[in-house]
């Protein structure tokens, strides 16, 4: 397994300072406790945000069958108010998609195609995520932002973690961390100071030898102004209602 330059010294420091932690690390020498702690601190902070708006400029690579990679870009705007308001607009090379949740129903709108589907929704964002995943195979855009610090976080699966050092993202000084878990090597840039927000994320998929990457650079607004209309779907005149494949192959779906 790859070792990072900071790994040794950091572990020595951990050994000297906290014997109990050092003992735990004996079986996982590539995991820097401080890096995991920073990740957990970021997650805990994200969980304290009642309402936020975040824009992510993302890239994602596809792998062709001969191993060549193709990079697609998109911009995702998310507006969320806990516990039961969520809006995401994805504007990408291949897709535009609007996700709307107002605490009662969920709508997915394919703007270019003019198609939308609306279904009853559970009472909270967390339950909505479960429903979308389990029933429809849909992952909420920027879902990591809603999972870090919660029961869905992958922190326990991390097999390597290191603090790489300071790095500036969009003019803001961050600390750069790298993590490894089954199937993915990933990096996160966490803002320094009182607001430990993720400012950048890079995920390298390691299950494909071409190692395709996903990247996101986040711009945060922690004091968004909005009203309930932001979360309610008002279909354009030429929009047509369709179904989710799982609900009805014959169109006999009930609202």
């Amino acid at each position: 397994m790859m070792r990072f330059p900071l790994c040794g010294p950091a572990l020595l420091a951990a050994l000297a300072a906290v014997p109990a932690v050092a003992h735990a690390q004996a079986t996982a020498p590539d995991v820097e406790p401080a890096a995991v702690a920073a990740l957990e601190k970021m997650g805990a902070y994200l969980r304290t945000l009642d309402a936020f708006q975040v824009r992510a400029a993302t890239t994602r690579e596809d792998v062709l069958d001969d191993g060549e990679k193709v990079t697609y870009s998109s911009v995702t705007d998310v507006l969320a108010q806990r516990p039961n308001r969520f809006r995401a607009e994805v504007d990408g090379d291949r897709h535009t998609r609007l996700y709307l949740y107002d605490g009662k129903s969920f709508t997915l709108f394919a703007r270019r195609a003019g198609y939308y589907a609306t279904v009853p929704a559970p009472a909270t964002i967390a339950e909505l995520e479960d429903r979308l995943n389990d029933r429809y195979g849909i992952d909420v855009p920027l879902s990591d932002l809603f999972r870090w610090g919660g029961p869905r976080a992958s922190t326990k699966e991390i097999t390597a973690a290191s603090d790489i050092g300071p790095s500036v993202v969009e003019g803001t000084t961050c600390e750069h961390y790298v993590f490894r878990q089954t199937g993915a090597d990933w990096q996160v840039w966490i803002q320094n100071g009182a607001f430990p927000l993720p400012r950048k994320l890079v995920i390298t998929t390691t299950t494909d030898e071409a190692r395709p990457q996903f990247s996101a650079v986040y711009t945060w607004n922690l004091a968004p102004s909005f009203n309930d209309a932001a979360f309610t779907f008002d279909p354009p005149a030429d929009a047509q209602r369709i179904v989710f494949a799982e609900d009805a192959p014959s169109g006999a779906v009930k609202k």
Binding site: V90, G92, D93, H95, D139, G183, W186
Partner: protein, 144 residues
């Protein structure tokens, strides 16, 4: 998804309907995952999305009433795994009820029945649907 049979049927149909330039494209075998905190069922719809062809933007979805018909691909926030391989035996006769395609022929007419959209293509009816976040069309019995 229901069965492997459906997948094979749908892939066969995709090939039939996309005959021409799409055959020149290379297939997509996988995509970068977009989250590290995963949900267990996130790959369940992958079989609809495999073997897209990549050339001249054929996978870009556009308004169905335009002159260009493209199937959407459930990409960017739904991590998709590589799935079933396509074999030569996947070729079947089109318009089997239950089969799924990524696009419909240009001659189809958009029809609303009971508030839901359909595409009528002669005697064949397609129902647009979201498979994951991508738009696909399933062949259905005439809804009226």
């Amino acid at each position: 998804m229901k069965t492997t049979t459906r997948t094979l049927l749908s892939i066969g149909l995709v090939f039939l309907l996309a005959a021409g330039p799409a055959f020149a494209g290379r297939n997509v075998r996988g995509s970068a995952r977009t989250s590290v905190n995963r949900n267990v069922n996130v790959n369940r719809n992958a079989n609809v999305n495999v073997n897209r062809n990549v050339n001249v933007n054929r996978d870009v979805d556009v308004h169905v009433h335009g002159g260009y018909y493209g199937g959407g691909y459930g990409c960017c926030y739904h991590p998709v795994a590589t799935a079933a391989a396509v074999t030569a035996t996947a070729m079947v006769t089109a318009a089997v009820v239950g089969s799924i395609v990524h696009s419909v022929p240009p001659s189809c007419t958009s029809v609303i029945v009971n508030g839901f959209a359909y595409q009528q293509c002669g005697s064949t009816w397609y129902q647009p649907q979201f498979s994951g976040t991508s738009t696909t069309y399933v062949v259905v019995n005439a809804p009226r």
